[in-house]
């Protein structure tokens, strides 16, 4: 455990701060270069947006599936499909989307012959916004899986009590359901963020390593596509761990506040 998980992480930290003549900030300073600033910004934006998209869409689908009067079997179908899609690993997923929405994808060409050229309109599957759409394929099912138990935990009596007191549907969601769900939503956000943040196979297969994302930059450094010291890779990786640590710390703080009022 220690040898293969903690030690590598520590080595990263040490490597990130040590030069040929003792401790140095040289490597960390290279992170400030335009290239790596972009990578940091893209990675964080992509993770945050795909997490928010996953959160919203997953919640909407879970709500629809759990609605009374939903067709029978819909729930089982949704949960089993979500389990598969959330585990549908990176490389095949990337190819499925290239075949669909790539420059020569079937949907793209079909739209083009219908007079809608999405690539001329500025869309690209190989950009951060395109990646957000691809990431949604595993983020939304993941959200569905984690949020369904929480939604089921909402007691019908609360809703009835709220309506007895004259609350509208909006007021019920705003003052009852949302505060109850908040800790679960926060936890789901962190999970989705981390999931997207460390995703490597999907963007790599989509762009052949030509997009400014942290995991891609690290792998380019490690496999020698760019002639630079491995210390930069170590510094980048340490930066990733730091971002995850910050996200988890914010989560811990927010969660304490969010669940404080519950006895």
């Amino acid at each position: 455990m220690a040898a293969f998980l903690l030690l590598p992480t520590l080595v990263l930290l040490v490597q990130a701060f040590s030069g040929p003549h003792g401790p140095t900030l040289e490597w960390v300073r290279t992170l400030g270069s335009y290239r790596y600033r972009t990578a940091f910004r893209n990675s964080v934006l992509l993770s945050a947006w795909s997490a928010i998209l996953g959160l919203a869409a997953g919640l909407a689908i879970a709500h629809a599936v759990l609605r009374p009067g939903a067709p029978r079997g819909l729930r089982t179908l949704a949960t089993s499909f979500a389990a598969v899609a959330a585990n549908f690993a990176g490389v095949p997923l990337a190819f499925a989307f290239i075949a669909t929405l790539g420059t020569l994808g079937l949907l793209t060409t079909a739209l083009r012959s219908a007079g809608i050229d999405i690539y001329a309109a500025g869309f690209s599957l190989y950009s951060v916004s395109g990646l957000t759409i691809v990431y949604a394929y595993f983020q939304v099912p993941l959200m569905l899986i984690v949020i369904m138990p929480a939604l089921e935990g909402l007691k019908r009596e609360w809703r009835e009590a709220a309506s007895n007191l004259g609350a509208s549907s909006w007021q019920y969601w705003r003052h009852v359901a949302f505060p109850v769900l908040l800790p679960s939503l926060l936890a789901a956000f962190v999970l989705l963020f981390g999931n997207a943040f460390s995703a490597y196979a999907t963007p790599y297969a989509l762009t052949s390593g030509n997009i400014g994302l942290l995991p891609i930059e690290i792998s380019n450094l490690l496999s020698g596509n760019v002639t630079l010291a491995p210390q930069v890779a170590a510094a980048l990786a340490a930066g990733m761990v730091a971002v995850m640590a910050v996200v988890l710390a914010i989560y811990a703080l927010a969660n304490r506040r969010a669940s404080r009022w519950r006895g």
Partner: protein
């Protein structure tokens, strides 16, 4: 729960009933249908299109050429076998290391459980790409370890750890381990007998869940294999995708089928019907 709800809806006073009826149409509703249809389109379209694509033979001819080509490709089989072997090894390592430790913690040291839980969540904080950077920096030898694909089993164990841990933890928590072992002891069973004839048979479904999750994760894992230059199934798919797109589409469907099989197995064996999630994106 359901009974209580039925009762609450039954002979209720009129105004209350009206309030409920106002807010909760029993119909599925337009919004519900719209959500489901949009979601279904988004999730099924890529699969269907990939299927169509894999049958494409250029121009307007369609057929199974891509599949035939793959079946004849020895490299596909060797990479698929390598991935499969690695998943078996990871599963073995996981069960040998994790299961005894977890049974011990549940039985003798419940106070250590939070610590265990924390450790099992750690791989989540360290992204795979960061871990592989650390590993390459730390270990440059010995050759018998890092020179063979078996080296991958170690990082794969950590990759699967959070998911395997959760699956086993659910199974163990559902058992009254203490009573079971005490009953076994009072009937004169030895420890190995208790372990193999009492505890493990009760854990079969949890173990199957952990095994299938690990299988799904390792079969699709790309990060470590790609950086450490081993030709696993996912790496092979990527290589194929750069030259032969229809074959790549066929492989995509095959890979989806593998995941599908593993997950259906997890759902069928899982006690709580709760889906689980792997981490090989």
């Amino acid at each position: 729960m359901a009974g209580v709800m039925e009762e609450a809806r039954g002979p209720a006073p009129a105004p209350r009933q009206r309030a409920i009826a106002l807010w909760k149409p029993v119909r599925f509703g337009l919004g519900g249908w719209a959500t489901i249809v949009i979601a279904a389109l988004y999730f099924f379209a890529p699969l269907v299109i990939t299927g169509v694509f894999s049958l494409w033979e250029g121009r307007s001819r369609y057929g199974f050429a891509a599949y035939r080509g793959l079946l004849a490709d020895g490299e596909m089989w060797s990479s698929l076998l390598l991935s499969f072997r690695l998943s078996i090894e990871t599963i073995a390592l996981g069960l040998v290391l994790l299961l005894p430790a977890m049974i011990f913690v549940h039985l003798r040291a419940p106070r250590l459980r939070p610590l265990f839980e924390f450790i099992s969540a750690l791989p989540f904080v360290v992204p795979a790409i960061a871990l592989v950077a650390g590993l390459t920096a730390l270990y440059t030898g010995p050759d018998w370890l890092i020179g063979t694909p078996n080296y991958l089993v170690i990082p794969y164990f950590f990759l699967a750890l959070p998911y395997a841990y959760r699956a086993l933890d659910v199974g163990l928590s559902a058992l009254d381990l203490r009573t079971l072992t005490e009953a076994g002891q009072s009937l004169g069973a030895s420890w190995p007998q208790i372990l193999f004839r009492v505890v493990l048979p009760n854990l079969v479904s949890a173990m199957l869940g952990a095994i299938l999750l690990t299988l799904a994760i390792v079969m699709g894992e790309f990060t470590f294999a790609n950086i450490l230059l081993f030709r696993t199934f996912a790496v092979y798919i990527t290589d194929v995708g750069q030259s032969a797109v229809t074959e790549a589409a066929a492989l995509t469907l095959l890979s989806f089928a593998i995941t599908w099989g593993a997950m259906l197995g997890v759902l069928a064996t899982g006690r709580g019907r709760t889906a689980q999630v792997g981490g090989a994106h």
